[in-house]
Amino acid sequence: MAGSILGNRVLRKEDPKFLTTGGVYVDDLNSEPLLVGALHATFVRSTVAHANITSIDVSDALESPGVVAIYTAADLGLEPVAATFNPMAKRTLLASGKVRYVGEPIAVVLTEFANQGEDAAEKVIVDYDTLEVLIDIEQAMTSTTHIFEECGSNVVFDSTAIGMPDNTGDEMFADCEVVVKGRFVNQRVAPCPLEVRASAAAWDNDGRLTQWMSTQHAQGARDTIQTANGLDAEKIRVITPDVGGGFGAKIAAYPEELVLGAVAKKAGKPVRWLETRSESMTALGHGRAQIQYVTIGGTKAGKVTAYQMHVLQDSGAWVDIGAILAPFMTRPMASGVYDIPKIEVRTTSVATNTTPVVAYRGAGRPEATAAIERAMDMFAAEIGKDAAEVRRVNLIPKFLEPHSTTIGQTYDVGDYEESLNRVLAAADYTKLRAEQAARRASGSVKQLGIGVSVYVEITAGNSSGESAKIEITQDGRAVVFTGTSPHGQGHVTSWAMIASDQTGIPMDKIDVVWGDTDLVPKGGGTMGSRSLQQGGVAVHVAAGELVEQARKHAARLLEANEEDVVFDKESASFHVTGTPAVAKSWADLSIALASDGGLIQETDYVSQGATFPFGAHVSVVEVDTETGQVKMLRHVACDDAGKVLNPLLLEGQIHGGIAQGAAQALLEEVRYDGDGNPITSNFADYAFISAAELPSFEVIHMETPTPRNALGAKGIGESGTIGSTPAVQSAVIDALAHLGVRHIDMPTTAERVWSEIQKQKVKGN
């Protein structure tokens, strides 16, 4: 019998479509009957960061060619809705009374053709009475101008308010021989999925709303759209076609999507909406955006004994999920891979007049890792020891039973030192240090920097399981229904591999269905690196149960005892022991059960808890000390995501993660001017990383299976980003360590690096 397909480098089933005719994204739905005659929606957006709206005049705009209607919040009867994570903060889906960031939607213009909308939207005249603009987190914390007056403060969420202990201050470090402090900016970045947001809404004659959306979680979107439209559960259907990337920013439904049903209803016609990239850069949520005050202390020999951090999280102009990532994702992972006896973390989330902050690849964990890894580097520099060796001294030793950290997080399994060993060996760390020393000795303009990071993160931490259904058709095909939702990860291939492994049905006879809430009513979507360990495991369990169910039916048809019936995976059929010639195939069983509802297995898999992928990265950069220009030379990554289903897809996730981490470390930053005008609001101004700025990556495999699920799998979607960001940043700083540089905030642009070199020159270094 052939071995399992699991663990093999299987090419993707979904690729031929993407490569020949392209995916079918929301804006490609040309033959959808419900969307015939659809109007096109264009949103009028705030051009100021903080103001009271004194009037909205649409009269000129209504005369613009192709305009059918223009609606404001008042026209649609929109009531204020409370923020999930701070119900005191309220807004209407289209701004009324007040605008709080540039890009906030104020009105919606409906036109006959898509290209008429922008012209008309520009003719809507909004009068503003401007207010003090708060862009800086720390300024917003102390300002008497409150972005959400009802909150009485711009602090919209604080870890101490939900019972997490406050930090005690410097006394925590009283017995430390060495204490180092840092203020790190983990800057605001834009997720930039290549497909911007798009949606379409249509009502049928029975008063049922169908809405297409580019989302990571159709079922979640369905629930919020249902609430926004005041509908009964059976009156709403959300359909997710292909999705051109999400990276966390497409988890929840946004105001534009929540209001589209009401717009279509009032217009009496279906409505399509597609934002431009420039709109997307200000209205799709941003990521990261923390200021971290860090203190680390320990012995001169290199043992860290105390770590304290106060995270100031920029929430932007809403209390979205970005406000709670700091307390629930950054805080519990703050000590990372290190055994630190004393640790304290407080998080304070602050509203500002900027685009709301949401989840972005890693969502709170890259921030935690960046802080502790920077702190570890500065601590190592302070005591004059090698950064990798100081890490080694402080690592939690290998554990295969759950391990609880001082802050109260319990990790599943870990062997951090092995991942560090492997990555240092693969990078040839000793040789790199020798080359660095040689360049320093020669006074070369091109200095070498080596950054090391070791990380652990939490995946599938916020969901309890996933459902799966497998249906066998009468021609012997399997259809897998999953509550997870691909936007590049390759679920069609992965779920087909898992189902094939159990049922023996070849992968080309397995179809995967997702993202249509009529076909898949239950589902947790794809986020937090949860898909394989929950959605994939659900398919695995369902497929196993399907085989057992089928064995019973086969026994009846073969007039045999159940225990005498064997399943031959090779031929994908059931027979009585010893008589393989008389067998029942999947198709036979499906046909036999046709009048009894068919052959279907449905499973609600309950998760055994979060998993904790870990790894170590080494990044090598070259810094031109005359210009500050950084060139990334190598990046070596050892990521342990447990048992690997498909190394091809695993590596793809790691590669993409590394690039996004490197992008934050080197180039990307969302910036505003003092008046709150975004100055990086398109791809010409935002430093989206390209192929030319990156090297090829060296991926080192390591597998420590988790005991928490049957596949032994942990998440891999975000690990690359979490490990790479601090490694790349540290490499840049390390290149200048001999000049006295201890820290440079991200992004380490040529300008910043050059300025830091000049500062050291002034000091005489």
Binding site: L19, G23, G488, G652, A692
Partner: protein, 151 residues
């Protein structure tokens, strides 16, 4: 105004607004939706097609400028159900994830090899600088192009 453009070997002729971009002619008038729009500043390259055999960003020219020209889109790359060697290389090397940048990336990569049949890794990276991808970190895209060059 009337434009006549040969698209994927077929003659097309339509009345369009003078301001119609080539990408809108392709996506909306001809309903060939393989070609995507990813930005509004000619930065991302998702809309890359071939104009008389050379890669162009179809959001950066008017349909009128393509009058009388031959345009090839991703839909025109496979022949008799067999993928172009570049498409095959992308599949074999996992050169795509969400697929949104892919049509433009493939068109740019084919054009790159037309100009330089045996590029180095650095030449590929510089050659594809105008095509952005958020999923792959470009690693497997570069591998795909290197593999296609060997075919």
């Amino acid at each position: 105004m009337k434009v006549s453009i040969t698209v994927n070997g077929k003659a097309t002729e339509h009345d369009v607004e003078p301001r119609t971009l080539l990408v809108h002619y392709i996506r909306e008038t001809l309903q060939l939706t393989g070609t995507n729009v990813g930005c509004d500043t000619s930065s991302c390259g998702a809309c890359t097609v071939h104009l008389n055999g050379e890669a162009v960003k179809s959001c950066t020219m008017l349909a009128a400028q393509a009058d009388g020209c031959a345009v090839t889109t991703i839909e025109g790359m496979s022949k008799d159900g067999v993928m172009h060697p570049m498409q095959q290389a992308f599949m074999e090397n996992h050169g795509l994830q969400c697929g949104f940048c892919t049509p433009g990336m493939v068109m740019a990569a084919v054009s790159l090899l037309n100009e330089n049949t045996n590029p180095t890794e650095d030449e590929i990276r510089i050659g594809l600088e105008g095509n952005l991808c958020r999923c792959t970190g470009y690693h497997n895209i570069v591998q795909s192009v290197l593999a296609a060059a060997k075919k």
